[in-house]
Structures are given as C-alpha cells and as structure tokens.
Symmetry: C2
C-alpha cells in the first residue's frame, strides 16, 4: 500500500492518530521536503514518530517516484506531506501513477493553509481563487497572478496568496553542467510579497487595489508562535513576521462586521 | 483555556495527536453537533477518547455559549468540531466573545471539506468561491448561489457546493408555541442538490451550465467508504451516494489533463 499522509501545519503532534499509526507500521517512510516545511525539523519528527525518515526531494518525487511505487506493491510505504497531501499537483500525479502500477493507495487528510487561513478571522466561504506569488528575478517579473487578485477583489472576495518556496533549486550556472549545484533554500516573506505587489500596483493603477489597501500577513500558522499582522500593503513592505512559512491575504473591500471585529485584534 | 479542536472528516482517529492530548486533559469536553457530523457517532468518540462528551446544539453554541466561556476562565474546556474548527461563522464569533471575557483560546486545526475535496483530483488552486445550497421549501426557493457557480464557471474555476444540514430545527408549527418541537435531522444528498440545480437551469438558461454539464458527487470524504461519482447533472439526479455527508462540485469547463485523467476513474 502507498500512503499519502498529511502532517498538518505546526509541529510533530499535528499528525492525526490515524496517520501516526500508519507511520509506525510502515516498512518505509519518506518525508516530502520541497513543497512546504514544518516549523520543526526532520529530527524532531523522527523522534516523535520513532521512525527514521528518508527525505524526498523534488527529483525523487517527480522523476524517481516509480521505483517507490513499485516497492509499495508488496510493502507498506508512506510519503509524509506538510499540510494536506493533495495540496500540490505532484501528489495527485503520484496517485495516478500508482493506479497504473495497480498499487493500492490511501490518503490521510490534514489541515492545510487553504482552510487554516481562517485563523485570521476571514470567513472561508468569502475566499475566491487561491494564487501563488513567485520570486522575481532580474529579468523575469511575471504579474498575471495580480489580475486574479483584482478579479476576486472586484467580486468582494478575499485572496489567499501562497508565497514562493525554493528548496534544492539548481543554480542557473550549473544547469548546463554535469554536476548540479543547488541554491540555499529560500522562503518568500510577507514583506517581499508586499514589495512585489506594490511594484505591480505602480505599473497597473486603477484596479481598485492601492498601496493603502489592507492586507493580512500570516506566519507559521498552526504553530505556537503563529503571528498575524493587519496593515496596508505599503506598511507590510516593512513588516517582519519572523521565520517561514509566510502567507498573505488580500481581503475583500467590504468585510462582514464579524470579520472587521476579528481583524481589529491584529492591527 | 477554551480549546476549539477540529476532528477532521472520517472517524475517531482523525483527531490530531495534539487534539487528543488536549481532550484527555480537559475538565469538560463538548461536541458541536449541528454544523456537520462524522460517520461515527458520539459513543464511538467517547470510547476512543476515554472521555464523556456533552452534545452542544445550536441553542448552546449560539445563545448559551457565554456560560461555557466563563467556565473556561478557570478550567480547561474543549469544543470539538467536525472538520476544521473555523469553517463556520459561529466558532469565529465564540473566539471574539472569549476575548471579551479575557478567556485564553487555542485552535487545533484539522482537515475540512474545503481542502479534502481535492481527493476527487480537482486542484485546489482552481476552485473559486465556495457556496452553500439550502433546502428549498414549498414557498422558499432561493437561487442566488447559482449566480456564483456561473461566475466561477465563466472564469474557468471549480465550485465546491456545501449541502444543507438540518439538525434540531424547530418545526414551523411550534415556532409560535411555548414548547418547541423539532424536525428529524436531515442532510441534503447529491441527488437532491442536483435536482434543485436542474430546476434553476430550466429557469435560467444561457449561463453556459446545462443539464449535461459534468458534476462531481462526493460522500463521506475521508471515511473508508468514501464515494466519488462523476456524472452529468441530469444523471446526478438519480445517483444515490449512500449515507451523509454529501458534497457536490461543479468543475470548470476546461480541465487540466491531470484533472481529466483523475476524474475519469470515477465515471
């Protein structure tokens, strides 16, 4: 059996009882470590689960997963994923491949930022399409995600912005070489996201969203040191919310009184 | 301390390890039982948690919660909620009241249908606004939610439709009487939802959505007998997906190849 197990968002104890029981009985346990991270490291998980974990990087998950799946034909193999296991396309693809190989699968769901974002007091049914903000480079500054924020905003919907994560990304120089070199991991902060948004606002005025539009910055949702800040996008450019992961919300222009009351606690 | 603890979607073991530890140490544990249900009953939960549970109905959660919160000033009280604890407005309101009374709170997140719906293979970032379909009566047949489905559809986004739940609803006759009488609990099925949608489609043609538009019916997501069916809305009117809870998705008109491949397994 091939198990996809969500770890939730905070620490080792955010796994479900069902998930933990499966981890403890599996022959092999992999930890997916490139679409998200927990606030605790691999060692803390290993200690709590009582099992050694094999780090599954992008290469393994995207190119070498077939060998793992074939192994799961006769053994119990679990892949642990931060948040909910089906938040990223990669994992849906794995399940399809498992079907091809006639490997049985089981999904153990958990909290993901998609629902836990409600901790800021914005109601889940008022969220529109979720978007991702990628890291810009010197020569690549895409802004198509901004149009989606504007569309949500004009329909009076909140937008959850997932912020870019770069883990085990090959350096540009090494792409043409035999031996790959990797960049240090980096995780976009609320500050960086706000700064990219402000640059787009300058390029695209008259959308209804300005530098004075209120945004909600969230960091380490679900962990004991979770932080939430409510500020204008202009101010958010200077707002340090500490270690990763961060997320940003652009709330709808007209909020429910309950949402307003709740957000007021984070101003 | 007042704890809001998500139970996830399937059975007793879908609580997180953190959630279970809190339940076992609390002075009082309430089970919210009117915004959602698990596939297992109160007794199964009590046995697994090793704690008696007090059923918290709408009356208690909306009108009498202040007494509970005051109790949580000096004691540890937990309210267990199916799915994620902040899926419903009621619970956000409780947290605001807790702040008023200066009662400390902690949220333990878990999977909710908002993210677990991805089990059908549709990608979460392609979902637009979530809507709710209410039970119609002889004289009250609202359809404003349909416009939101159409808006999502025209932006090539999926719509998750949450289906109505009636638990401990007073009968119309008893509303004017001293002694309230309650209706039997009922949970809208995919079949009933599809049938209401087809009636709206007849009233509102030319939206792009027709009786032949594909829909995804889901029942008991996260439970071992979870069922997923992919059919036209016309066919979905005859589709029995068994016991509650049910949800319905109207997918975007143009799907990603991976989404198409995945849905094909449920046709």
């Amino acid at each position: 059996m091939f198990y996809l197990i969500g770890l939730g968002l905070g620490d080792a104890k955010d796994i479900t009882v069902k998930g933990l029981e499966i981890v403890r009985k599996c022959d092999k346990v992999l930890l997916e470590a490139y679409t998200s991270i927990l606030t605790v490291g691999k060692e803390a998980l290993e200690e709590f689960y009582g099992r050694p974990l094999i780090i599954a990087d992008r290469e393994l998950c995207e190119s070498n997963i077939d060998n793992i799946l074939k192994e799961a034909k006769n053994k119990d193999v679990a892949l642990l994923v931060v948040g909910d296991p089906l938040g990223a396309t990669t994992h849906t693809d794995m399940l399809l491949r498992a079907k091809q190989f006639e490997v049985k699968t089981q999904i153990v769901h958990n909290a993901s930022i998609i629902n836990a974002v409600s901790c800021c007091g914005l109601q889940l049914y008022n969220f529109g399409e979720t978007i991702s903000i990628p890291y810009w480079t010197e020569t690549w500054k895409p802004d198509s995600f901004y149009d989606k924020i504007v569309q949500n905003f004009s329909r009076n919907l909140h937008t959850l912005c997932l912020l870019d994560i770069k883990v085990k990304e090959p350096t540009e120089e090494s792409l043409t070489k035999k031996v790959r070199q990797y960049m240090d991991p980096k995780f976009m902060s609320v500050k960086e996201a706000a700064s990219q948004l402000v640059q787009i606002i300058k390029r695209k005025p008259d959308t209804g969203i300005t530098m004075d539009t209120i945004a909600v910055g969230l960091s380490r949702v679900g962990a004991p040191d979770q932080t939430i800040a409510v500020k204008s996008l202009r101010e958010m450019q200077q707002c340090d919310l500490g270690p990763p992961l961060h997320s940003l919300v652009i709330p709808a222009p007209n909020l429910h009184p309950l949402e307003l009351d709740y957000l007021a606690h984070f101003r």
